[in-house]
């Protein structure tokens, strides 16, 4: 049953890509929804994570090198998040356009530094032993890394969702979305919340880059590709929420993967068509939080 095999593989791929997209887009959505900053350097963070995976693990990851890469990616993501928080703080009362220009400038600088450090070649990295082959389940074979990615990404997605929707830290974040001044009034330093959200969002992006490295392969220009995908997901899902981007990311993962398998030349147009169709019906995305008509 080759057709069914292709369909199932495409759907598993779509699930893996969708979850990866969600992890990336969740960071973007958190930073925008809570801090009101449109961070166009988000794609550069993803690419940094992917380059680090290659730089630490080489072309063939091993388990120890993967562990080192995870630590490096989390530390670097946190540092980058803190830096972004400091750099954008003076602009917090100015328009989104200025924040977009600033983070765009940062993204250009980051892309230039990355290409100076890692060159212009594609830096492919293979997953560690045990995950680099295929597994056969019920007569169908899948690439095992993508299956593992589905598991890990689903865990990570669940952790993010649980943190934001169910913990008191998440309640603080969500309260900041609804009314920043009120959060400050009850005695929480908004600068700490701001830094925390930036760090969390940036770590999610660099982690997604590490996880996605064997699929996307680090190369110049990947930062913009990922940024646009994440923006599309966030626009469709609605800014500031977690559930919206999750559903949108899973939808776009399927559109991207199944579309590429069925209509290879038209995958980008399918993506745009879906985006346009959603925005024609709901100009503010599927699940935009609208606390007190703020947005």
């Amino acid at each position: 049953m080759p057709t069914t095999q292709i369909a199932v593989t495409a759907m598993v791929n779509g699930l893996a890509i969708g979850l990866l997209l969600f992890i990336t887009a969740a960071g973007l959505s958190l930073i925008f929804g809570m801090m009101d900053v449109l961070n166009l350097a988000h794609g550069a963070l993803f690419l940094t994570g992917a380059y680090l995976a290659w730089w630490i693990g080489g072309e063939q990851q091993t388990w120890p090198s993967l562990a080192r890469a995870v630590v490096a990616v989390v530390v670097l993501g946190a540092a980058a998040g803190g830096l972004l928080s400091l750099l954008t703080a003076p602009l917090s009362r100015r328009s989104h356009l200025e924040q977009a220009l600033l983070t765009l400038g940062i993204a250009l600088v980051a892309a230039d530094v990355l290409s100076a450090l890692f060159g212009d070649d594609v830096r492919a990295t293979e997953p560690p032993a045990g995950l680099d082959g295929t597994v056969t389940i019920a007569g169908w074979s899948y690439p095992s890394y993508r299956l593992a990615l589905v598991g890990v990404a689903a865990l990570l997605a669940a952790a993010v969702y649980w943190t934001v929707e169910r913990t008191s830290l998440g309640a603080l974040f969500r309260a900041t979305v609804s009314d920043r001044d009120m959060v400050a009034t009850v005695g929480v330093d908004p600068r700490l919340v701001r830094g925390g959200v930036f760090v969390l969002g940036s770590v999610l992006a660099t982690l997604a880059g590490l996880l996605g490295a064997p699929i996307y392969h680090a190369r110049p220009g990947l930062d913009t590709t990922i940024l646009v995908l994440a923006l599309v997901v966030v626009v469709v899902g609605g800014l500031g929420s977690i559930r919206g981007p999750l559903i949108a990311a899973l939808l776009f993962g399927q559109v991207e993967s199944v579309g590429r398998a069925v209509l290879p030349g038209l995958a980008s147009f399918l993506l745009f068509g879906t985006l346009a169709a959603v925005l024609v019906v709901r100009p503010r995305g599927l699940f935009t939080l609208a606390p007190g008509g703020r947005r």
């Binding site: 925008f32 449109l38 003076p90 602009l91 100015r94 328009s95 989104h96 356009l97 200025e98 977009a100 220009l101 600033l102 765009l104 400038g105 940062i106 993204a107 250009l108 600088v109 980051a110 892309a111 230039d112 530094v113 100076a116 913009t224 590709t225 646009v228 923006l231 599309v232 966030v234 626009v235 800014l239 030349g265 980008s268 147009f269 993506l271 745009f272 985006l275 346009a276 925005l279 024609v280 100009p283 503010r284 995305g285 008509g293 947005r295």
Partner: protein, 324 residues
Amino acid sequence: MTSLVQTRAPARPRLGTGFRTVAATTAGTLVLAAAPLYLAPYATTTLTRILVFGLLAASLNLLVGVVGLPSLGHAAFFGVGAYAAAWTATHQTTGAGTLLVGVVVAALVALVAGAVAVRTHGVFFLMLTLAIGELTQQAADSWEAVTGGSNGLYGVPAPSMFGTVLDQPATTYWYVLGFFVVGMLALRLVSTSTPGVVLRGIRDSEDRMRALGYRTTAIKLGALVFAGAVAGLAGGLLAAQQRLVTPADAGFETSALALLAVVIGGTGSWWGPCLGAALVIVVRDSLGATLDGHGPLALGLLFVLVVYLLPRGIAHIRLRRATS
């Protein structure tokens, strides 16, 4: 513009069409026209690039400064116009008809993309236009039969007018300058006449304009199509000047640079974006070459510096947060 309600016009721009403006414009055009007689060919070519990019920035300024629609995908129309003109020049005619094809195709693409985009507001518009630009670049990359794929369309024939082939730096410059002036005058006509006042009203308070009976979504779409058409004209000039069109010309970075030029130049002003474009081109082409290919680094720093040091220039852009 048939409104039943008579109202005080919202902040009519002070750009009068008095004698002084006309004189200054004529003098400026004459100086620009004489420039190649005194400049080296390389400098003339740089000036040509500045004019092309300046027209793109000025058309974007109609959206950002006048209507309040900050677009991060304006190069999509520029690139589409450039491809259409280059394709026409290669396969059909090398006359000024190439520019007409560029304008029409860019306006059609702007109509389709805009029909979706103008329904959104503020930061959603910013992101949606970014996606439109990026997808246009991807389309240019993948539709090899027409666009030549990632190699682009190269070897575009030089433009010709009245039986003369304009392939010298100076003749190309005059060709570009002529249509630059046409495009700038069209932009100025729209932004200082009654439609321009309506567009400024939409920027300042869309809800109020709607309450006054204006169909604001349709008017914004009209402005986007017009700005897209002028960007398509600039694209046609790019094809004539560069004789090469690549997917990057339609992409995100070109859009971002155009937006930067608008912000540097000051969004309200008519000619300011052209000055901004001059600065951007000089930094990218000249400074980038001396920095051993680190043009993006210099540009990125320019972005950061402009945002921190020029808040006045950009203070009056209102990225509307919908208040419904």
